[in-house]
């Protein structure tokens, strides 16, 4: 094992929390039973790393095996780093019949055509998602395994999720994806977050959405505070209506965890008490950012508790409706799909 491989392994082991190390190594399956047994997981990370290095030398493992281990760990713990969503546009007629082997072959060959030194690993996860690990090199240097890009895509759906991609690598990846999935274009879906599962669930609509029904089932609200029986009785109907509207806008039950929503405003300044600003011709550019550990949950609570008025403003309800958390708002009518019209006051 050469120096770079050793460093790769060291960094990886440092990254994996001790409590997950055993199961991850087990899944990897590159250690014999005896070797796995011989590792003492109560030791310090440093000691464990040294032990593992020795075992890997013994088994004559190479870079490709280490990257295997990394991939196993990332697939099981995807909610780290920043993930960005992309959307494939305009499927060709045969996009619906693209199957896994075909996709794998096509993706690898297209990427290799675009950039000579690249290391691609593709794995199918049990939940139908295809995981791709790409280590980028260039004309002169070997692939850099320290900064790999991970791509997640479910065939026959238009969404692709990517982490750790530089702007130089983006066009190469886009090209390879478009050609191998048989679509015509790919665009930024304007959705990002730390939890892959959250942004994926939001776009694939895999959370509990609430629709108006004739016989609405009672929606549970996590609000145990009961101050006064009389107030509660009086407010019961309007509270129930607010809760229904909030759940219809954001969803019921557990919501996908988004961390932020960004609104880039390119609208004219509007405040009649400030003549200098309103007289300016150019739009007043500013950025509004909402941040939270669980943004959708917070917004839903704002609506159900009455802080935000119901029906919920489309500025906020567009987050789950359109599956985006980055919006550009202009004064002039509907612009390109990433923009939203400002509601008339």
């Amino acid at each position: 094992m050469d120096e770079s491989t050793k460093r790769l392994l060291q960094r990886l082991i440092r990254r994996i929390p001790t409590q997950m190390l055993r199961t991850t190594l087990d899944k990897w399956g590159r250690l014999t039973g005896g070797q796995l047994h011989s590792m003492d997981f109560t030791q310090s990370k440093w000691a464990l790393t040294e032990k593992l290095l020795a075992i890997c030398e013994e088994n004559e493992l190479a870079v490709k095996h280490i990257t295997e281990l990394e991939m196993i760990y990332i697939i099981d713990n995807p909610n780290q780093g920043m993930w960005y969503a992309f959307q494939l546009m305009d499927p060709e007629d045969d996009a619906h019949s693209v199957e896994l082997t075909q996709f794998k072959e096509q993706f690898k060959s297209h990427l290799r055509e675009l950039i000579r030194h690249v290391s691609v690993k593709i794995k199918k996860h049990t939940d139908e998602a295809v995981w791709i690990r790409i280590a980028w090199g260039d004309t002169f240097s070997r692939p850099n395994h320290m900064k790999p890009t991970y791509v997640v895509h479910s065939l026959q759906t238009p969404y692709v999720f990517v982490t750790s991609l530089t702007s130089k690598q983006k066009p190469l990846l886009s090209q390879a994806l478009v050609l191998s999935t048989r679509y015509q274009a790919i665009k930024d879906a304007n959705l990002s977050g730390r939890k892959l599962t959250a942004i994926r669930d939001l776009l694939m609509r895999q959370y509990h959405q609430v629709f108006p029904t004739r016989y609405p089932t009672p929606l549970a609200e996590n609000n145990p505070a009961v101050s006064n029986q009389h107030i509660e009785k009086e407010q019961a109907e309007s509270a129930a209506n607010r809760l229904q509207a909030a759940c219809e806008a954001f969803g019921g039950g557990m919501l996908p965890q988004l961390q932020s929503a960004v609104y880039k405003l390119e609208t004219k300044f509007r405040d009649h008490s400030n003549k200098t600003m309103t007289e300016r011709e150019e739009p007043f550019r500013c950025v509004v950012k909402f941040a939270s550990t669980n943004l959708l949950e917070s917004l839903r609570h704002c609506a159900s508790s009455g802080i935000a008025s119901t029906p919920v403003t489309p500025l906020l309800s567009s987050i789950p409706l359109k599956g985006k958390n980055y919006f550009v708002i202009t004064d002039n009518g509907p612009g390109p799909s990433s923009q939203m019209r400002q509601p008339q006051k």
């Binding site: 619906h96 019949s97 199957e99 896994l100 199918k124 139908e128 479910s154 065939l155 026959q156 759906t157 238009p158 969404y159 776009l203 694939m204 609509r205 959405q209 629709f211 108006p212 029904t213 004739r214 409706l321």
Partner: protein, 290 residues
């Protein structure tokens, strides 16, 4: 015979005879009057009839309005009718008849799908149910705006169902069923294929699922032939997304002759015609697979 004088008398007599005869027939004027009188009477009866019909219709409408209110508010109110009981019974029946006819017509328009009004009549929400084998599966919803044109505003249809293209190809502005029927077909077929996959995983542990996809339009299974323990790779392609049976079955095996053998040709047509989880039961019975 006295020619001239007889002529004169006879002709005069015949003239008198004619005059006398003509006096016996009734004069034209009185008959015309009677005719007109009869016509007037007929018209008056017709007018009375129409008046009665209008009255009935008015009472029917009142009764129907109260019936509709009864339906929405589920109140047990007896509407006061200012007519005798026999007529009121008949009227009630007639009102109920029109109500049922209207209901049938509405049902026909929306094709039996569950539709409710939202936002005080400005929108509606359609609920599409899916079921397979007598079991209800997922429920999907479409929220639509009615003005200015019928338009889908929100939905929870999975992204691999081509909702947008189905909407574009449909005639939904004039007949919403041209959207709902194909959509329901796609959703039910998807639910059926998904359920079949679930059953294959549950009931046939000896069969390995090598590949499947989110749309459940592709399924690759691995069979084991009993005696020789050879593996057979079976690919099922469901290219028609409105059906829950495959459009193509393909076997791959190390033993190149196996897919062409009569038993496996039979298995191929079995898999094309029977849902996969059931086909596997038959194949196991026939001893073709473990």
């Amino acid at each position: 015979m006295a020619g001239a004088s007889t002529k004169g008398v006879l002709s005069h007599l015949s003239l008198l005879e004619v005059q006398a005869r003509s006096r016996k027939t009734p004069p034209q004027q009185p008959s015309r009057v009677k005719e007109l009188k009869a016509k007037a009477e007929a018209l008056m009866t017709q007018r009375d009839q129409l008046k009665a019909e209008i009255e009935t219709h008015k009472s029917l409408q009142k009764l129907r309005a109260s019936m509709d209110k009864q339906c929405t508010h589920e109140e047990e109110e007896e509407e006061e009718m200012a007519i005798d009981s026999e007529n009121s019974q008949l009227l009630r029946l007639m009102a109920r008849h029109t109500q049922l006819k209207d209901l049938l017509h509405a049902h026909d328009i929306i094709g039996g799908y569950n539709v409710i009004k939202t936002r005080k009549g400005k929108g509606l929400c359609v609920s599409l149910t899916t079921a397979y084998n007598g079991v209800y599966l997922e429920n999907y919803n479409l929220e639509m705006d009615l003005k200015p044109t019928l338009r889908i505003s929100r939905d929870n249809i999975p992204p691999f169902i081509p909702l947008k293209s189905l909407a574009e190809q449909s005639n939904m502005q004039t007949d919403i069923r041209t959207l709902l029927d194909p959509l329901s077909q796609h959703l039910n077929a998807f639910a059926a294929r998904k359920q079949q996959l679930k059953l294959v995983k549950e009931l046939h542990k000896s069969v390995q699922v090598m590949e499947s996809n989110a749309l459940c339009s592709l399924l690759v299974l691995m069979f084991t032939v009993p005696r020789e323990k050879t593996a057979v790779l079976c690919s099922l392609e469901y290219t028609d997304h409105t059906r829950c049976l495959p459009t193509r079955v393909h076997f791959e095996c190390e033993d190149k002759g196996l897919p062409d053998s009569p038993e496996w040709k039979k298995n191929s047509s079995l898999l094309m015609e029977t849902p996969v989880h059931k086909a596997l039961i038959t194949m196991k019975k026939m001893g073709d697979i473990v």
